[in-house]
């Protein structure tokens, strides 16, 4: 393949998330070199993006099939709270089962979404809006207070609080997921369903089951987020991941998951997550007020949508054969 201006531009367009991360990070370095220019800040930035990273990837899968999941934050909260509550009441709970629990709860929640949207064919926006309230309510019903990390088994909390373990775990999950999406038939069918559902059906792809699977995987990933968040927050705060939907969504879209469905890679979605993470870290570093943070996040979401549109248009121009 010859190297050409077009190929280079296309590469940058597709990897834009990583460029933005570099851009943001560099600007923060310029503004406050002492804080940003050291390895532990960089390492912390990566680590603190992991919980959000799980949620970005969780949101990405339904988006690829052309659907929405508004409940990712609430699934995470419920999975975290339910698992922590069981551990609270059973301090000598089986070590292996303890780690599996948040994934199981997350998967069940995701399967509910998948059942209603994929198999019953309800509107994804309305379903996941409803389930987000349901999961939120269930979280409060299980334990209407935060659970402190000190009351939980040491091993359980230290999994997510160890920077290296958390990052390694996330990268492993990301790689497995990314490869499965690209190199398995089901993975291709997930993209096909988002690209053109009617045509996929015509070609024998069972799109309703694909959508069910997409939401179930999303739930599973939320379970992963729950485990990491528990370590990161040293316990389960009552409002765990409550407002995480918009950063997750923004991260996925900036990372190249198209809103139209059918395209985008989860690896790049992590890049988008880092953009959000870097921005959030920067906002914290410069002690921006909560109100302004909210506004900044809102602007980021709109920016993500614009970027998606521009990217598609520009890619079209570049890829159209002469």
């Amino acid at each position: 393949m010859r190297l050409s201006i077009e190929k280079v531009t296309l590469f940058f367009l597709d990897q834009m998330a990583w460029l933005l991360v570099a851009l943001f990070y560099l600007s923060f370095i310029i503004l406050r070199p002492s804080a940003m220019l050291n390895l532990s800040t960089f390492r912390f930035l990566l680590y603190s993006s992991v919980p959000l990273g799980f949620l970005v990837v969780a949101e990405a899968i339904p988006l690829i099939t052309g659907n929405f999941d508004l409940s990712v934050g609430q699934i995470t909260g419920l999975a975290a709270m339910a698992a922590a509550y069981i551990l609270l009441r059973n301090p000598n709970f089986n070590f292996i089962l303890a780690f599996i629990m948040p994934f199981v709860f997350g998967t069940l929640c995701g399967a509910l979404n998948g059942f209603l949207v994929g198999l019953i064919n309800f509107n994804p926006f309305l379903v996941t809006l409803g389930t987000s309230l349901l999961f939120d309510g269930l979280t409060l019903m299980i334990h209407p207070q935060s659970i402190w990390g000190l009351d939980l088994p040491r091993y359980y909390v230290s999994f997510g609080s160890n920077e290296y373990i958390a990052l390694l775990f996330f990268i492993m999950v990301l790689l497995i997921l990314g490869l499965a999406l690209r190199y398995s038939r089901t993975g291709i069918h997930i993209y096909a369903t988002g690209g053109d559902r009617v045509s996929s059906e015509m070609l024998g792809i069972k799109t309703n089951w694909i959508i069910f699977l997409a939401y179930t995987i999303a739930g599973f990933l939320c379970g992963g987020a729950a485990l990491i968040y528990t370590g990161f927050c040293n316990g389960v705060p009552l409002n765990l991941a409550d407002g995480a939907l918009f950063p997750a969504f923004a991260g996925a879209v900036i990372g190249g998951i198209s809103l139209a469905g059918g395209r985008g890679s989860v690896i790049n979605a992590f890049g988008g997550c880092l953009v959000v993470g870097t921005l959030e870290a920067g906002l914290t570093m410069f002690a921006i007020s909560p109100e302004m943070r909210k506004a900044a996040m809102g602007i980021l979401v709109i920016f993500a949508i614009l970027l998606d549109r521009l990217r598609i248009t520009y890619r079209d121009k570049l890829l159209r054969p002469k």
């Binding site: 398995s184 038939r185 291709i188 069918h189 096909a192 015509m202 070609l203 792809i205």
Partner: protein
């Protein structure tokens, strides 16, 4: 010679509308049948029944001599019936090679797993492209191909997967003159591969040259079923068609 496809007394109602009224149709191996009729004639209903989207209310379908039920798109494909639409049947943002193999991706072993074989897909896609002389690249996204070329890809896919009957559903609608020419070339390529073809259109003269037989539908009934050799020109056939329609 036994017909590949035989429809006997096919009826279909939509509420009170009798969309298909006792249709009998035979399609032989390797022939091109032009299915002609205006809007409301029942052409698309018949196509949907053959491609498994709809089921007939009455009547029987025989495939290679055996009675069959086509209850789904998968059933139709299993028999070897493929349908080509201008806008559907492919994913626009996928590459040509991915589209050709969509739903039937080839796999290769990797340790204990089986992963999708992109190299094979690309190679085989190039073969298909060469068969039909398509002006596309296997890695190019489908949406950048013209309407005619897109249908060429779908026709190529049908050929690759050894379809026995390809139904082209109004393939020349909204195409340029060059596009129409290409579609006619693809249709002849099908015939040369001994694949039967039902070419649905409302413009008779376009397929006059390549078709073997013409079936005219009018308001749900088959009004004419003739071989091309009985007519010396498209105008003659058109005149006969108008004559029949005027009687009603």
């Amino acid at each position: 010679m036994e017909p590949l496809l035989r429809l006997r007394n096919i009826h279909k109602w939509f509420e009170k509308v009798h969309a298909l009224n006792g249709i009998n149709l035979d399609v032989y191996p390797g022939e091109i049948v032009g299915l002609i009729g205006d809007n409301g004639a029942g052409k698309s209903t018949l196509v949907k029944i053959l491609s498994g989207v709809l089921r007939p209310d009455e009547g029987e379908i025989f495939w290679e001599g055996k009675k069959v039920k086509i209850s789904s798109v998968q059933d139709a494909r299993k028999l070897g019936i493929e349908t080509v639409h201008q806008e559907r049947g492919f994913v626009d943002c996928f590459s040509i090679s991915k589209n050709i193999f969509l739903g039937r991706e080839p796999k290769k072993p990797l340790f204990f797993l089986k992963i999708v074989d992109y190299c094979k897909m690309r190679e085989e896609a190039q073969k298909v492209i060469n068969w039909l002389n398509l002006k596309v690249d296997p890695d190019q996204e489908m949406r950048f191909a013209s309407g005619g070329e897109k249908q060429g890809v779908v026709v190529g896919r049908a050929m690759y997967f050894k379809a026995k009957l390809v139904i082209l559903d109004e393939p020349t609608r909204a195409l340029s003159v060059a596009g129409v020419e290409r579609v006619l070339e693809f249709t002849e390529a099908l015939k040369n591969s001994r694949i039967s073809c039902i070419f649905v259109t409302h413009t008779l003269h376009q397929i006059f040259k390549i078709a073997d037989r013409f079936v005219i539908l009018y308001r749900g009934e088959k009004k004419l079923d003739v071989e091309k050799k009985e007519f010396s020109s498209a105008e003659e056939l058109e005149a006969k068609v108008l004559e029949i329609i005027k009687v009603h």
